[in-house]
């Protein structure tokens, strides 16, 4: 028998607005109405401002470790814009911009990083899940959430975000495999920012694209310029259409770059060249959009100055609210462990002790039992 070809495949890459200001009319025309574009830009600028404010809060000792989102705003924002508001957004921790677009209060994100679980409680009404700290584990939850919608006959889908490093985790592969084989409408969105703390992307995935990992699971996949809001929205609409009409998953790789350190506890100068960072700064998604809107005549320097001033004021107001939020009470440590607290937890909560003599003073020595 002759050797035949078992599979030939290719992966499309979408770029609509590049860093030099070139705009692909064919793909981009009418994709995002101007009125929406202005609101999207405003969200990106506010998100970037919050990122800078959060960084300073950490540096001045007013907040714990914080992972900056700088440079990656277009991915989650474009996704949240293209999705319906009741589709699940299952994020890790560099999706602040999409969460803000969805309506999750910025307070919730800041409170989370200020060490306060109450921040996470604000996500549910917006069909968003809490910020996921353990890497690459939340895609399985997205698969379960979309599965539940399918089971109930609802049209809801889920979109989950993760980085290039997360695609090395076993749970990533299990999530892709479950969604693909059980026909569950999940959009797997990899924010490929090239660095997992200090480990470069080629150690996570030596294939030419991360997107092609989807092929192994029989998913359609696409690579988009993740610093191009238009390309992200275009790719997401394709993915959403596929997920809703077929009930099956889709894989998107948004190629972007982490302009900041991994977190405030990291110093990226130890492992990457400044020249690389500078090259990516020139591809900043916000600058790109601003130049496009200015060229189009719907934006100006004066408007930009005013927006940044307003964004700063709004961020400072958020900080003030978060810093003045009532301190959580110790009983909160116990109260959410179970719906109905076992008696030993009630005892620990009421006494503030774990040693038995502290919990039950009747056990303390008395004349009758002292030996």
């Amino acid at each position: 028998m002759p050797i035949t070809n078992a599979l030939t495949t290719s992966i499309e890459r979408i770029s609509i607005l590049d860093e030099h200001g070139n705009f692909d009319q064919k793909l981009g025309k009418g994709l995002i109405p101007d009125a929406d574009l202005l609101k999207l830009y405003e969200t990106m600028v506010t998100c970037r401002m919050m990122d800078e404010v959060a960084f300073k809060l950490q540096r001045s000792g007013r907040m714990g470790t914080y992972p900056q989102n700088m440079g990656q705003e277009a991915n989650s924002l474009g996704a949240a814009y293209a999705l319906n508001n009741d589709d699940w957004l299952v994020t890790c921790y560099r999706e602040n911009c999409g969460l803000m677009w969805r309506g999750v209060p910025i307070d919730s994100i800041l409170l989370h990083w200020m060490g306060d679980e109450r921040g996470n409680a604000m996500a549910r009404p917006h069909h968003a899940t809490p910020i996921a700290v353990p890497i690459g584990t939340q895609m399985l939850h997205a698969t379960g959430l979309a599965w539940a919608a399918k089971y109930r006959g609802q049209k809801q889908i889920a979109c989950t975000f993760f980085g290039d490093g997360a695609t090395s985790e076993g749970d990533f592969h299990e999530a892709c495999n479950f969604a693909a084989n059980l026909d569950i409408p999940v959009i797997f969105f990899c924010q490929n920012n090239f660095w997992a703390i200090s480990v470069p992307g080629r150690i996570q995935c030596s294939a030419p694209t991360v997107a092609q990992r989807g092929i192994a699971y029989g998913m359609p996949c696409l690579q988009v310029d993740g610093n191009d809001l238009f390309a992200v929205v275009y790719g997401m609409r394709k993915a959403i259409d596929h997920a809703r009409t077929t009930g099956k998953p889709y894989f998107i790789e948004g190629v972007t770059y982490r302009l900041g350190d991994h977190t405030t506890a990291d110093d990226a100068r130890r492992y990457r060249d400044q020249a690389e960072v500078d090259a990516w700064k020139a591809r900043d998604p916000i600058t790109r959009l601003r130049n496009y809107m200015t060229k189009k005549g719907i934006w100006s320097d004066a408007k930009d100055t005013a927006l940044r001033k307003a964004a700063e004021a709004s961020c400072m107001a958020t900080v003030e609210r978060c810093e003045q939020v009532e301190h959580p009470v110790r009983s909160d440590v116990f109260n959410y462990t179970f719906a109905d607290l076992p008696t030993d937890l009630i005892t620990q909560r009421e006494t503030g002790h774990t040693h038995s003599l502290g919990q039950d003073p009747s056990q303390l020595p008395s004349a009758s039992n002292a030996r």
Binding site: E174, A175, D340
Partner: protein, 322 residues
């Protein structure tokens, strides 16, 4: 009243809850057309359809992780992990997410999920098919851990677990899946989680155990010919220390029996709490008759490893003689 095995009692409980509540769905490896490798879910896919009894890919973390998502959306998933030795790959999802979700989100997301897991040795199975890892999950705040010792309890405890608003690990001792039969009412009944059972009353010594070991304890107690009280914890967390405390305060002596290794086993917690709560009533050091602090051997030696009636009897007699 029907006389059922533990397998049949669990199957009946699943059927009754699935008929009552369409949020209950089963998922796992081989749970569908095969009815589970122990046939616990036999006939359920035929009865409830492939949407409610789902054969999944072979991936334990995937089974638990997707169950967490299903539960966060308001369903009541019942994932099956085929053997306790394969619960390890799902440890991260259980402890990093299922156990923490209510706390992490201040109650806005919860995980009402019952993880069914065959557990323990004594069935001549291959490696990693005979372990007793209940202590790992008992130590993790946010999880409930249940292990019945017979068909009647299994049905009542499982229904409570399925209705519980929080994640429950429901260990099913495979050694007694078919070894004993009991009368199990067709009618619905529940046994509350966190409530131990006094199997037999006595005045000289208290034996505390759970799961398949309870049967070995009964044999040992019979052979001893003394007045011994046997407590089956039934739920390992929350632990019913009140029942244990009352008993040991009365008898002054206690032997704890479990299949798992001794060091940091659940028996360590029971013994410590007895020391804390019954200090002045104790007539002898609390004794533990357990698996050895070794790797569970292959099956040629498994009966040397597992605490049998003779070893338990020796523990009881040594404690009584102190």
């Amino acid at each position: 009243m029907a006389t059922l095995t533990l397998v049949q009692a669990i199957n009946l409980a699943l059927i009754q809850e699935m008929e009552k509540d369409d949020r209950v769905i089963l998922l796992g490896e081989d749970v569908g057309s095969n009815g589970g490798v122990f046939r616990v879910t036999e006939g359920l896919q035929k009865r409830f359809g492939t949407n409610r009894v789902v054969d999944t890919p072979l991936a334990e973390s995937g089974i638990i992780g997707t169950s967490i998502g299903l539960a966060m959306a308001g369903l009541r998933p019942v994932p099956e992990i085929q053997f306790e030795g394969f619960l390890g790959p799902a440890y991260d999802q259980l402890c990093s997410h299922a156990a923490r979700m209510r706390t992490r989100t201040r109650g806005t997301f919860t995980v009402p999920m019952t993880v069914r897991v065959p557990v323990g040795g004594g069935i001549h199975a291959p490696e990693l098919h005979s372990d007793s890892p209940e202590a790992f999950y008992t130590h993790q705040p946010g999880l409930k851990v249940v292990m019945p010792s017979g068909p009647y309890d299994a049905k009542g405890l499982l229904i409570s677990a399925l209705r519980d608003p929080d994640p429950v690990i429901f260990f099913e001792p495979k050694r007694i899946y078919r070894a004993i039969r009991e009368e199990v009412p067709e009618d619905e009944y529940t046994i509350p989680l966190g409530k131990a059972r006094v199997v037999c009353e006595g005045t000289d010594l208290t034996v505390v155990s759970w799961g398949a070991s309870v049967i070995q304890c009964m044999q040992a107690i019979e052979a001893c010919g003394r007045s011994i009280e046997l407590i089956d914890l039934r739920t390992i967390y929350p632990m019913d220390m009140q029942t244990v405390e009352q008993s040991v305060s009365k008898t002054g002596r206690c032997v704890i029996v479990h299949e798992a290794p001794r060091t940091c086993g659940v028996g360590s917690e029971v013994a410590t709490q007895i020391m804390e709560k019954c200090f002045l009533h104790l007539e002898a050091p609390v004794q533990r008759v357990t698996g050895f602090d070794t790797i569970m051997p292959y099956y040629k030696l498994e009966l040397e490893y597992l605490p049998d009636a003779a070893r338990i009897q020796r523990g009881i007699e040594d404690c009584l003689a102190y």
